[in-house]
Amino acid sequence: MRNISLLDHELIPKHEILATDELQTVLNHYQIDKEQLPKIKSSDPIIQEIGALEGDVVKIIRKSQTAGEGLYYRLVIK
């Protein structure tokens, strides 16, 4: 297959692995545990591409019609 980054696709928002301290801020802000975040599978093509591991939290920067830009977090699960 040709070498093309899936993240360039117009349907796929930007995904990045969240650093530990940033994760703490997010969890404190919402007053939740990591396990209460929405999930994403480690077999997801995007997770494979950015190389996130099980237990990591990815930050997703969505383009939103209503807010312009929206942040979303997903916990990587098996």
Binding site: R2, K41, T66
Partner: protein, 388 residues
């Protein structure tokens, strides 16, 4: 004195508002030319109104969404098929399509792809045509006439020379593919040009008739499952529309613009592009289906549905095998579908229902913990003789 652009930016940038509102506020403030005091007042008012417009914590947004989608849904046509303006390709629209989306079906009833082309292919009709032939599945029926010769116990295929050159397939190539796929004796006729003779392994009528049937199913060129490809010129570039959807295969073809290729099969998007793309596709498909019918549903309701469907990392349907079937409460599940099964299973397992949700409390006739049901009044009774 009006404020400079930099000061306005610094005052507005860090406000806890959505990006869109920050941008609009900035633009308008710069255009109107405001003083510091005015801007402060504007920001105060915007913040107040924004806070007022926000959904309160614990508000039943799901019910609001359900009603907001359900009511316009009653006005949708039951008519299944419609030519959606996209190059004579038939797609399911209206209520059946909406049901398909929320049911998260593995394959939609009319899968369709929009294949964008890379530069160098998108501006030339010939290159686009060539790609189209690479994608569209070619069967023997497209290329020639198959006749069954009962006397000689063989199939005679007369190929059309013109079609072969057009689709860039050779006689040898066809013979080879048929030989490999059906494992039969294939000869290229020596007397007649562009003729192939196929014989079954055993000279029996059954084998021959079976062969005559099977030969039409062999894909000689292109991607199996793509029935038709239509080329259309949108603004100034050629785009391919396909009937049938094989995202993974199409993306492997050189000249296809991977970043703009799209299918209406959400399960395929999930597999190839991941959960976030599937969520975006859900929103897009549902919004397109509704707006095609002239219904205006706020996108936030659709986004909520899409978020719920994708929150576990896979696309789950709204229904017995998805969201509603996974609720923690026995009563809530039993209220939806297959009531007896749920109650029976819960009884056998000895499940406990904590009665935390809305459905459970309605079933047993208690106030729900929402709206007025969520408020408790506490009053101290004045003791006799004391003045209040």
């Amino acid at each position: 004195m009006t404020l400079s652009e930099a000061t306005i930016n610094s005052m507005v940038d860090d406000l806890p508002l959505p990006q869109n509102m920050v941008n609009t506020l900035k633009e308008d403030a710069i255009k109107a030319g405001v003083t510091k005091k005015e801007l402060e007042e504007i920001i105060q008012q915007v913040m107040d109104n924004y806070g007022y417009a926000c959904v309160e914590p614990c508000e039943a947004v799901g019910v609001v969404s359900a009603q907001s989608i359900g009511e316009p849904g009653t006005q949708m046509t039951m008519r299944t098929f419609h030519y959606a303006g996209v190059a004579e390709i038939n797609v399911t629209l209206g209520l059946p399509r909406l049901i398909e989306i929320v049911d998260a079906r593995k394959t939609p009833s009319t899968p369709m792809m929009t294949v964008a082309l890379e530069e160098g292919y998108s501006d030339s009709r010939d290159e686009a045509r060539k790609l189209a032939w690479q994608i569209e599945a070619t069967h023997i029926g497209h290329l020639g006439d198959v006749t069954t010769d009962l006397a000689q116990m063989q199939l005679v295929v007369d190929l059309h020379e013109k079609t072969l050159t057009q689709r860039d397939i050779s006689v040898d190539g066809i013979a080879g593919i048929i030989r490999d796929k059906l494992n039969v004796l294939v000869k290229i006729s020596e007397e007649v040009d562009y003729q192939i003779i196929i014989q079954p392994n055993q000279p029996s009528y059954r084998e021959l008739l079976q062969l005559a049937k099977n030969i039409h199913n062999v894909t000689l060129k292109g991607i199996e499952g793509i029935k038709r490809v239509v080329i259309r010129k949108d603004s100034d570039e050629y785009t391919l529309y396909t009937e049938g959807s094989e995202l993974n295969e199409v993306l492997k073809i050189d000249g296809v613009d991977v970043t703009r290729t799209y299918t209406n099969n959400i399960a395929e998007i999930y597999e190839v592009f991941g959960i976030e793309a599937a969520r975006n596709a859900l929103v897009k498909e549902a919004m397109d289906t509704l707006s095609e019918q002239g219904l205006n549903v706020d996108i936030r309701h659709i986004m909520l549905v899409a978020d719920i469907m994708t929150c576990d990392g896979e696309v789950k349907q709204i229904g017995r095998h998805g969201i509603s079937g996974e609720k923690a409460s026995v009563f809530a599940r039993a209220a939806f579908e297959v009531t007896v099964n749920h109650l029976l299973d819960a009884g056998i397992r000895g499940d406990v229902d904590e009665l935390n949700g809305v459905t459970e409390n309605i079933i047993i006739g208690q106030p729900i913990k929402l709206g007025t049901g969520d408020v408790h009044l506490v009053a101290t009774k004045p003791v006799k003789g004391e003045s209040v």
